[in-house]
C-alpha cells in the first residue's frame, strides 16, 4: 500500500468515526445518519449536480418564493413575460432548460431566479419599467445567474456546512429522506436569498445580461435604465431586500461602463420598446384618470416650467 493511499484511508476512517459512536449507541439515529449523508452529498461542492436534481432543487426554491408572494393572477401578463423570457434564454448556452417566468404579486422591487430555469420579477419592479428593453435587461440578468449556476453553487456551499448538524436534531423529517432534503434545500435557500450572492456573481450577471439582451435584438441599455431607477430610489422601503442582496446600483453602473464602453453600440436594428409593452402601459384611458383632474395639471406643470 502506497503511503498516500494509507493516508486517505485513515482520513476516511477518522471521518466516519466522528459519527459512528452515536449511530452505534442509538439505533434510530442510523437513519438520520443516512439522511445527513444524503444532504451532505448535495452540499458537496466538488460534486456536479445533474440536470434533474438541479430542476428539483430549483422547483423547491421557486415554490418557497411563491409561498412568500404568489403569481399575479393574469394569464395574459404571465404569457407575455414567458414569451419575452424564453426568447432571451434561447440566446444562452442553456437554451434547452425548461424555462419558467413569472410576475409575483408584491409592491416590493426585486427579481429572483432559482436553479433549473425559474425566473421571477415582482409587480413593483414591473410597474417601474419604462419600456420592454428594461424588462429584457432584468430577465437577462436573472437568466445569467441560472446559466452560470450561481445559486446552485452557493447553495451547495451553504448546505455543506449546515446539513449534517441539522440531521442530528430531533426535528428532522416527517417526509423521509426526500422530505429531509427538501427541508434542507429550503432552509439553505432562505439563508441564501436573504443574504444574497457574492458581489462578483452579480457583476457577472450584469455583464452577461446586457449581452443576452443585445443578442436577442433589444437595446443592451435596458438594464442600465433599471439601475438608474434603482439608484434614485434606493432608500425606499420597498427596495430594502433588493439593496441588501445586491451591490449598490451606482457601483453596478460603474462596472458596466468599464465593461461595455461602446462595444455594444450600433447594433441595428435594436429595440427599446414594443407594442406588446406599450399596450400594457398605454391602453384606452381608464376611469380613475378623472379623479386626478384637479391635481394633475398643477402637479405636472411645475417641473415642466423649469
Amino acid at each position: 500500500m502506497r503511503p498516500h493511499r494509507a493516508l486517505s484511508l485513515l482520513a476516511a476512517v477518522a471521518l466516519s468515526l466522528t459519527v459512528t459512536p452515536a449511530q452505534a449507541q442509538l439505533g434510530g439515529l442510523g437513519n438520520i445518519f443516512d439522511k445527513a449523508q444524503k444532504a451532505k452529498k448535495v452540499g458537496d461542492s466538488m460534486r456536479e449536480i445533474g440536470p434533474e436534481e438541479e430542476e428539483k432543487i430549483g422547483g423547491d426554491l421557486a415554490s418557497m418564493i411563491l409561498g412568500a408572494a404568489p403569481l399575479v393572477d393574469n394569464a395574459d401578463e404571465q404569457h407575455y413575460v414567458n414569451r419575452v423570457g424564453m426568447w432571451l434564454a434561447m440566446h444562452t448556452e442553456r437554451a434547452d432548460l425548461p424555462w419558467h417566468f413569472g410576475i409575483i404579486d408584491t409592491d416590493d422591487v426585486n427579481a429572483f431566479s432559482t436553479p433549473g430555469g425559474y425566473v421571477f420579477i415582482t409587480r413593483g419592479l414591473f410597474e417601474r419599467f419604462r419600456n420592454e428593453s428594461e424588462l429584457a435587461g432584468v430577465l437577462s440578468h436573472e437568466i445569467a445567474h441560472v446559466v452560470q449556476k450561481h445559486h446552485l453553487h452557493a447553495l451547495q456551499n451553504e448546505m455543506r456546512t449546515s446539513a449534517v448538524a441539522d440531521a442530528g436534531s430531533s426535528v428532522v423529517g416527517s417526509g423521509g429522506v426526500t422530505g429531509f432534503l427538501t427541508e434542507q434545500v429550503i432552509k439553505a435557500g432562505k439563508t441564501l436569498y436573504t443574504r444574497g450572492l457574492d458581489k462578483g456573481d452579480e457583476y457577472e450577471a450584469d455583464r452577461m445580461g446586457v449581452v443576452i439582451a443585445a443578442r436577442s435584438g433589444y437595446s443592451p441599455y435596458g438594464l442600465v435604465g433599471v439601475l438608474q431607477t434603482l439608484s434614485a430610489e434606493q432608500d425606499q422601503k420597498g427596495l430594502a431586500l433588493m439593496m441588501k442582496t445586491h451591490p449598490n446600483p451606482t457601483d453596478r453602473m460603474d462596472r458596466l461602463e468599464k465593461a461595455m464602453g461602446t462595444k455594444l453600440d450600433g447594433l441595428t436594428p435594436e429595440v427599446d420598446d414594443l407594442p406588446s409593452f406599450v399596450a400594457l402601459r398605454n391602453p384606452p384611458p381608464p376611469p380613475p384618470v378623472v379623479k386626478a383632474k384637479a391635481k394633475a395639471p398643477a402637479g405636472k406643470a411645475k417641473p415642466r416650467k423649469k
Binding site: D105, R130, T194, A232, M253, M260
Partner: protein, 168 residues
C-alpha cells in the same frame, strides 16, 4: 364648457405625461452634449460633472437632456438620477399597474400593499399549487421565436464581455 375643456386637457396631459414623467438627473463625468444620439455626432455643448439635467427622452444607450438651457444627448451611463426622480410605481407604466391589480382575483385589496421583505421570505411556506401554475405557463421556443420575429426583434451575434478578474 370650460370645465369640459379643462377635463379634456387634464386627460390629454395625463396620457402624454404618463410614460415619460420628467426625470431629474446629474452628469457623472464631464463630457459633451451631442446633437444626435451617436458617438460621432456634432458636439453642441460641454457639460461639467454634477451639472443638473432634465431627461426629456431616451434612445438606446442615450438620454436626451436639457442642461443650462441647451438640449442634447448624453451617454446613459454618464447620467445618474436624483433621489426620488425615477418613475414611481404606476408612473412609468401606469396602466400595467392598474391592470395587474384589477386582475388579482379577489385579493385586490390586500395584495396591493404586500411587501416581500426578509421576514416574508424567512417565514415563507412552499406553495406547490402556485408552482404547478407557473409550470403551466411555459412558452415553447417556437412560439417565442415567431413572436420575436413578428415584433421585429433581430438577433445579433455578440460575444460576452471580457471579465477583468476571472473567478475560479
Amino acid at each position: 364648457m370650460r370645465i369640459a375643456g379643462a377635463l379634456i386637457g387634464a386627460l390629454a396631459l395625463c396620457i402624454a405625461a404618463a410614460p415619460a414623467a420628467a426625470e431629474e438627473g446629474a452628469v457623472i463625468r464631464a463630457g459633451e452634449l451631442k446633437a444626435m444620439p451617436f458617438i460621432d455626432a456634432v458636439t453642441s455643448a460641454k457639460v461639467a460633472a454634477n451639472q443638473a439635467v432634465t431627461i426629456v427622452s431616451r434612445k438606446g444607450g442615450w438620454v436626451e437632456v436639457q442642461a443650462n438651457g441647451q438640449t442634447g444627448w448624453l451617454r446613459m451611463l454618464n447620467v445618474r438620477l436624483q433621489g426620488g426622480s425615477a418613475p414611481a410605481a404606476g408612473q412609468a407604466n401606469v396602466h400595467a399597474a392598474s391592470l395587474l391589480r384589477t386582475n388579482s382575483s379577489g385579493k385586490t385589496v390586500t395584495t396591493g400593499i404586500k411587501g416581500l421583505g426578509e421576514e416574508d421570505l424567512q417565514n415563507a411556506v412552499p406553495n406547490p399549487a402556485e408552482l404547478t401554475k407557473l409550470t403551466s405557463l411555459a412558452v415553447p421556443a417556437a412560439e417565442a421565436s415567431s413572436n420575436a420575429a413578428a415584433s421585429g426583434l433581430v438577433e445579433h451575434p455578440v460575444d460576452y464581455l471580457d471579465q477583468k478578474k476571472k473567478k475560479k
